[in-house]
Amino acid sequence: MREELEQIKREAAEGIRAAGGVKELEELRVALLGKKGRLTGILKGMGRLSAEERPALGQLANEARDFIEGGISAAKAELSRKATLARLAAETIDVTLPGKARARGHYHPMTTAMEELKRIFLGMRYEIAEGPDIETEYYNFDALNIPSDHPARDEQDTFYVEGKDADGGGFALRTATSPVQARTMERGRLPIRMICPGQVFRADEVDATHSPVFHQMEGLVVDKGVTFGDLKGALMVFAREFLGEDTRARFRPHYFPFTEPSAEMDVSCFKCGGAGCNVCKGEGWIEVLGCGMVHPRVLEMRGIDPAVYSGFAFGMGLERIAMLRGAISDMRLLFENDVNFLNQF
């Protein structure tokens, strides 16, 4: 019996070595260890042995079983490992083929620029206000301290809309987003910190730098004790956030009917840093916005007492900024809606 066990072990080892696949190993296992297997038969016959022989032979038989089971399972693992390696090798691909992207849409570069500005001012605790595109002449002009004979009414090349209101007032496409300032002040909720981005309209013929429809963003702060220094501070934060930490700003006296004192803000050229280049036309500075302390008359017209409250306002055109940032040379591209242009942003 002892020899028979050794014989089985030898045959098992031989069989495992010769097995070419999982199936043959399984057949071998059944032949030796299955219900009718040879080793199983031997184990079943153990009861017939004498009490002296049984422990030693029992141990030998168990060893043989462990040997066979271990060998088969190790061989199976090895086969499986080889199969996996073979599969992986066969599945090698060209990783340099182009990736598959679901075609996604793109934001208009004007939106991208506007959203960045909004984020900056939201962070400075400003709200975003909106107003109508078709405005009364009153809100577009009178409320901004531009009476009917004021030259600024000509300078802005206003589009007028047919019709008159009950008081004989006319209608116009807003020439700036400033009417939103007047409407915001009129709500009477103070303090005010708001920006109003949006489209505005002026009777300019279309060319590379002009469009009859363009975008502006204005801002308004009204509170007790607001100073010109605060205006400078807020706009310098904006300039550095929007154009870069090293940006310098300067404020030049200017004139707007709705602010006093008024200023224009130039920023150091974000291309050359102030040395002078084609972007800043050699000046080192780029004019980006107009601003000033809200004219006391404008506050009074909206029922705000200029002796108690003061404020500042600012406004900038967005096309030029978006164009400078995107190296866009022709404003018409912004309104042509060519997907080959839009999908670059």
Binding site: G105, T111, E127, A152, L173, P253, H254, Y255, N340
Partner: protein, 793 residues
């Protein structure tokens, strides 16, 4: 405003480089637009004395000259015929550059050495207006002997720098050399040297004996001051004066006209000179024009006037359009002997309107428009008279005929140092403020400042604050960050939802478009809108850029189709575009109040897309807000395919339309393939938006699934079947999802097979097969009843 530096320095000190000066004055509030140097490119052009002239042996039309260039004799070949030995001429040496940038090289001309070029006045950058004595097609000959070899630039005043300023509309006073000089004096703290305005009046008689003035429209003409010049000698003005006019962009004409223009540039007061002998009755009447009155202006144009315009007239005829342009009939020509100088104040707005109506804007009108100081009129007419004396071109008759019905005086403006500091955020002493104001020519007194009439822009404390800030320096005001009353910076609900819509459209593959809010009324025809369509009720612009931009859009259909067409015409294979913007819906036309401006989400697509692609985008847009869109077929949208269009509603509210574009409309837009458009009001989407989705418990027990294929008549909408299943399949039905539509073998003509996957689930136990089967059975009964639906086997 253009001011040569040399002219400016006559009235104010500016002892810095022009570049630094430009920087300083810009920061002071008079922005420098440009600095030009007329003689900038001229190089190596010197005075030469013609020492000899001989004929060119090889060319009849050429001369060979010997030119003394100061220490060196050179030979120059020239074609000019106006030279004599001994003349002093400008000569460009070898390597010289002319005003136009052309360089001159030594070379041979028909075998004769030519070591340079003799120059015409044009080659030095001037015209014969500047140098009337210069010959046409000839060499310029200096009128007096010059040092041979000397640089011609200083002699011809070509070394000056000319500064162009952007003057803001509130500072009419700065449209003048003296006005700028006043700013410079204030800026650098130096003196202002006002020009001599005191004529000696050596002519005989009194001005009032020669001329009478009557103002019939005092509200349009607050002042009319006139002086009379006798024995005028009309000729060419001296070179220095012509240079100044030219440098400032004004063409020299004759000594009298040049004086009026010179005074306008110097003081900012437009003037006009009349030939007194052409003024009937020697009576000036300032009156409104008559409707239909015509008048020939100095430029030879016949102009039709109306009663809103102001004219200067004599008893018989108009002789000038006030403040805009004089007339052919009274202009000063060589033969004139007695001259009337007009220096008047006119209503700025009136001049502005008249100038616009006439389409005639002049140096004078552009100054009057801004509102001039009436007190300047007298100063200016006196200055002009003094210049007549200084130039010796006439005799000034004593006295001024001065009608001044609208007297303007200095204005007292109250301010406090505290108020100014509070506005600026500064800490400037009251004394310092007073001294700053004095530098500007204002007169501070305790509690206020007196602003002279040339500074009518100063009306209240804020204006005073700006003046102080300018002198103090805007850049010296410390930048601060106001703490102030706290506010919250956030987007409101609509703004946040709009962000979500945009993100959804991008995810669906649509790029954002930007279109004009106005369009052509022809769009309504292209869109096949019936005559009575509400969408034709559009607000019209009074002054559009053209018919194509003349109405405010009532719908986005045209804008999106135009954008798609633009891409199609560029042969782009496909385009998917959207825009969230406004349409304009007037309640009355012409407008009586502001129209509704509802926001819409509009989008369109062509190229490899079908109805269900754009529908998917609409569903995704609604879903971005947590809302659900419903679609109901319609054949009522004129520009859409009647079988492939739907009304879209959200939360039971009509939001808009979606569909394939009608083939006739595609043709009208020149789009050669199927395209799809949609337009949804955002309001119903926002109204049904779920801002904060609430958690619904996840099903803990497994779902039982049953697939059912139903044969229904072709016209039955799949959505209706789905609704019926959900309504009839018992308490446990969870969802019914369409997964197949089939027509063909096994399905009769006029019918289709719809296959749904039904899911049943209970929140508290595992369902038995019987329970799921019961649900299916119950649904089949209802579907058979409602849609004549039979299960497909």
């Amino acid at each position: 405003m253009i001011v040569p530096m040399s002219w400016l320095r006559e009235y104010a000190d500016a002892d810095v480089s022009t570049r630094d000066f430009a920087e300083d004055i810009t920061m002071f509030g008079q922005k420098v637009e440009a600095i030009t140097k007329p003689g900038e490119r001229i190089d190596r052009i010197v005075v030469g004395r013609v020492a000899g002239i001989t004929k060119h042996a090889g060319a009849d039309k050429l001369l060979v000259t010997k030119i003394d260039t100061g220490g060196r004799m050179i030979q120059v070949v020239t074609g000019a015929r106006n030279l004599s030995v001994g003349d002093f001429v400008p000569v460009a040496l070898d390597g010289a550059t002319l005003a136009n940038g052309v360089t001159i090289k030594s070379g041979e001309l028909r075998g004769e050495l030519s070591e340079g070029m003799l120059c015409s006045i044009e080659e030095l950058g001037y015209t014969r207006h500047d140098y009337p004595e210069a010959p046409e097609n000839g060499i310029y000959v200096f009128s007096e002997p010059r040092e041979p070899g000397a640089d011609v630039r200083p002699i011809l005043e070509l070394t000056d720098e000319v500064v162009e300023y952007e003057i803001t509309s509130n500072r009419a006073d700065c449209f003048s050399v003296v006005g700028i000089a006043r700013e410079v004096a204030a800026m650098y703290g130096g003196p202002l040297r006002f020009p001599d305005c005191s004529p000696e009046e050596l002519g005989g008689g009194r001005a009032a004996d020669h001329i009478a003035v009557r103002i019939d429209a005092p509200e349009l003409c607050p002042r009319y001051a006139a002086r009379v010049i006798r024995n005028a000698r009309i000729g060419v003005s001296p070179q220095w004066l012509r240079h100044r006019l030219t440098a400032a962009g004004v063409r020299p004409i004759n000594s009298i006209v040049d004086i009026t223009n010179y005074v306008m540039l110097e003081l900012g007061q437009p003037m006009h000179a009349f030939d007194i002998d052409e003024i009937a009755g020697r009576r000036i009447i300032v009156r409104n024009a008559r409707d239909g009155e015509t008048f020939v202006t100095l430029d030879g144009q016949r102009r039709e006037l109306d009663a809103s315009m102001l004219v200067i007239a004599d008893p018989e005829k108009a002789i000038a359009i006030a403040g805009i342009m004089g007339g052919e009939n009274s202009k000063v020509t060589e033969g004139a002997s007695a001259i009337l100088f007009e220096s008047a104040a006119f209503s700025g707005p009136n001049i502005r309107r008249s100038s616009k109506k006439l389409g005639l804007r002049t140096d004078a009108s552009s100054r009057y428009e801004k509102g001039l100081d009436p007190n300047l009129a007298l100063v200016a007419v006196n200055r002009a008279a003094r210049l007549v004396e200084l130039l010796g071109v006439g005799e000034v008759v004593p006295g001024v005929v001065d009608c001044y019905p609208g007297v303007v005086s200095d204005r007292d403006v109250a301010y406090t140092a505290d108020g100014v500091n509070r506005l600026l955020g500064t800490d400037i002493s009251g004394d310092a403020m007073a001294s700053m104001l004095r530098r500007l020519g204002l007169s501070p007194y305790p509690g206020g400042v007196s602003a002279p009439s040339f500074r009518r822009d100063i009306t209240r404390e804020a204006d005073v604050a700006e003046e102080i800030a300018r002198v103090y320096g805007y850049d010296n005001i410390p930048a601060t960050l106001a703490s102030g009353t706290p506010t919250v910076g956030r987007k409101n609900r609509e703004q946040l939802l709009e962000d979500r819509l945009k993100a959804a459209m991008a995810a669906s593959g649509y790029s954002e478009a930007l279109t004009y809010a106005f369009e052509s009324p022809k769009a309504f025809d292209r869109l096949l809108l019936p005559e009575d369509s509400e969408l034709r009720r559009a607000a019209r612009l009074v002054n559009p850029l053209g018919e194509d931009f003349s109405v405010m859009r009532t719908s986005m259909a045209n804008a999106i189709l135009t954008a798609l067409a633009a891409n199609y015409s560029k042969r782009n294979e496909s385009a998917a575009l959207y825009e969230i913007t406004k349409v304009y819906r007037p309640s009355a036309l012409p407008l009586q109040d502001l129209p509704d401006e509802p926001k819409v989400l509009a989008f369109g697509i062509y190229g490899g897309a079908d109805f269900y692609d754009i529908k998917g985008a609409a569903e995704a847009a609604a879903a971005s807000a947590g809302a659900e869109a419903d679609f109901e077929r319609t054949a009522d949208v004129p520009f859409l395919h009647p079988g492939r269009a739907a009304y879209v509603s959200v939360g039971g509210e009509r939001a808009g339309y979606i569909g394939e574009v009608h083939p006739d409309v595609l043709a009208a837009y020149g789009i050669g393939e199927r395209a799809y458009v949609a337009e949804l009001f955002v309001a119903p989407i926002y109204a049904n938006a779920i801002d904060r989705p609430a958690y619904k418990p996840l099903g803990r027990f497994p779902a039982a699934r049953r697939d059912v294929a139903l044969i229904v008549p072709e016209g039955v909408p799949a959505k209706a079947v789905e609704r019926a299943i959900l309504a009839s399949a018992g308490a446990y039905i969870e969802s019914a999802k369409l997964f197949d539509v089939y027509r063909g073998a096994g399905v009769a003509d006029g019918r289709k097979s719809l296959a749904y996957s039904l899911s049943f689930r209970s929140p508290d136990r595992t369902l038995t097969d019987a329970q799921a089967d019961e649900g299916v059975k119950s649904a089949l009964v209802r579907l058979a009843d409602e849609f004549d639906a039979r299960p497909r086997v």
